[in-house]
Symmetry: C2
Subunit: 328 residues, 2 copies
């Protein structure tokens, strides 16, 4: 920035102390009317611009929220990013975006967020090692896990009610006449994929139905390749629950390429309700994750913790709904 | 943050001045060995953690790059965001993400970026009003327009060579036997849509061919609805150049719904080469934008300007290539 004018320069020209300049520009500090006028005149003359960093030295806090995200190629997450950015903007907060390539958040990412004195952190689809978890606990930076949870409730988390949703999906497929179903899982280390499997299988087991599980990775290619494998094995289920939509689109494409009729021969249900699920080419039956409600819960918690850190944790689950389209 | 320990506390315990503490922690400042030791011992005892804001007060610069983006729902942009984040991370820089809802960047967005003393700014698919342009010029913050340009070369811009690319697309369609072609434009106020139209029509005119232009908006729905309109008019061109891929997918879906054979009756070419263009369902012929090269150019320029601001501007154009698939 061109602006090399400091509070010291302003103080000198105004003939007041540097701390008087600080008091004029940073909230919650009192200063006499006369001093204020002197400072403002000098600041104007010099083109002084107080900044957030200076403010943060006094308040020990910035208006930055760190947002950690991995799978930005999954269209669910750009939507999440957009909603967070818009909601925080209204509250005067900005988003420092951290993209992780690894499944796990790296120590350097956490150090960076701490160096910038972020007011809070949101972690979406990246996991936390024990080390990083301890670091966070110690730092007392308000943290929310979004669309992920850790079993021991060490952090506040906001998810869709995955267990309940996947139970309902299983019941729906049974109701539609399926008797030999499969689950295509996302990354094994994610709570979402585990919970969706758990809810789904609980109903299948209760109905004494056969069940197949295929491991995959929450990507289009993963869904596509897994389905090619299923087709090669010649054991095509009559109902497939796919752990997210982007994978489900790959499943649909692989089934079509092999002329397997959807929904006549196989029914397909996804999860998320990304925009593409509604495109006429796919018309995918799916479970809608209520992004807006999930974002709201996350922001409300963070803002409360920013005002007064309590360290309160809870696994919040928001209900979504089944969107029936033409793949079932 | 828990860390309420300030440089003042450290100075008091160490029995040195506050500026000595600053000199120990911030680069490019000298301090005696004895003082340094005193400060480090005191800092350790108190758990003092110097931060980026304090550093920025001295260097007048942070390691933050502001990235302004609008159409995050277009899969081209999450890819761009990912590449910028990864590249800057290697250089020790972080991304402050600004999402604009409006076509134009708002003054408040610029003020926010300036308040955070960002080292540089990248603007992707949002436009600049005259006011904001002046503000930027005055601030001397290095700025790059990415995938957009302003005619008067007031700023450094990095684009794909849109004119050349769209000339080649027109030549390719003619070569494939098209004799009645259409262009489906993106948002009218974007340089990309204008340049792609200009290059395309220049070749069509040279060949004395009829030409139709349809306005649309760079979204899937836009492409879909525009094509429904074309079909309703019963004047279906035998070749359609669509200004970006996400619109082209909508065009393909609308043609298919109306049983218009691709490529036999109509050929479709997109622009960007987003991941979905390669999905077997679409298999879209398109022009690949060389994101990695474009990001590289942008980062190199910004880093040079951060070291020494020159205000140098240029419209840099990077060559992409035609990816032939099954829609032509």
């Amino acid at each position: 920035m061109k602006n090399n004018v400091t509070a010291k320069d302003v103080a000198k020209l105004a003939g007041v102390s540097q701390s008087s300049v600080s008091r004029v520009y940073f909230e919650g500090a009192s200063v006499s009317k006369k001093t204020r006028e002197k400072v403002i005149v000098a600041a104007k003359e010099l083109g002084y611009r107080p900044n957030e960093f200076a403010r943060s030295l006094i308040t020990n806090r910035t208006k930055i929220i760190g947002l950690v995200m991995k799978g930005i190629q999954n269209p669910f997450y750009p939507q999440v990013l957009k909603e967070f950015t818009a909601t925080f903007k209204k509250l005067g907060y900005s988003i420092l975006f951290v993209s992780t390539n690894n499944d796990e958040i790296q120590k350097e990412d956490i150090d960076m967020l701490r160096n910038y004195n972020v007011a809070g952190v949101i972690i979406t689809d990246a996991s936390l090692s024990l080390n990083v978890t301890e670091d966070f606990k110690e730092s007392q930076v308000p943290l929310v896990l979004f669309n992920r949870k850790i079993d021991n409730e060490q952090f506040y988390s906001v998810c869709c009610n995955n267990l309940d949703a996947s139970e309902k999906i299983a019941e729906y497929l049974i109701e539609k006449g399926c008797s030999d179903v499969a689950y295509i899982a996302g990354n094994a280390n994610t709570s979402t994929s585990r919970d969706r499997e758990k809810g789904f299988t609980s109903i299948i087991e209760k109905n004494n139905m056969p069940f197949h599980k295929y491991t995959s990775d929450y990507t289009y290619e993963g869904g596509y390749k897994t389905t090619q494998k299923i087709i090669a094995e010649k054991k095509i289920p009559d109902g497939i629950f796919v752990a997210n939509d982007i994978m489900a689109l790959g499943v649909v494409d692989a089934l079509r390429e092999n002329s397997i009729m959807i929904p006549a021969e196989t029914k397909v249900v996804g999860f998320d309700n990304i925009e593409m699920a509604s495109w006429p080419t796919y018309n995918l039956t799916t479970w809608e994750q209520p992004i807006t409600k999930m974002v709201e819960q996350t922001v409300n918690y963070l803002m409360a913790e920013i005002v007064e850190f309590s360290g309160y944790t809870e696994n919040v689950e928001v209900n979504g709904e089944l969107i029936v389209r033409k793949t079932t």
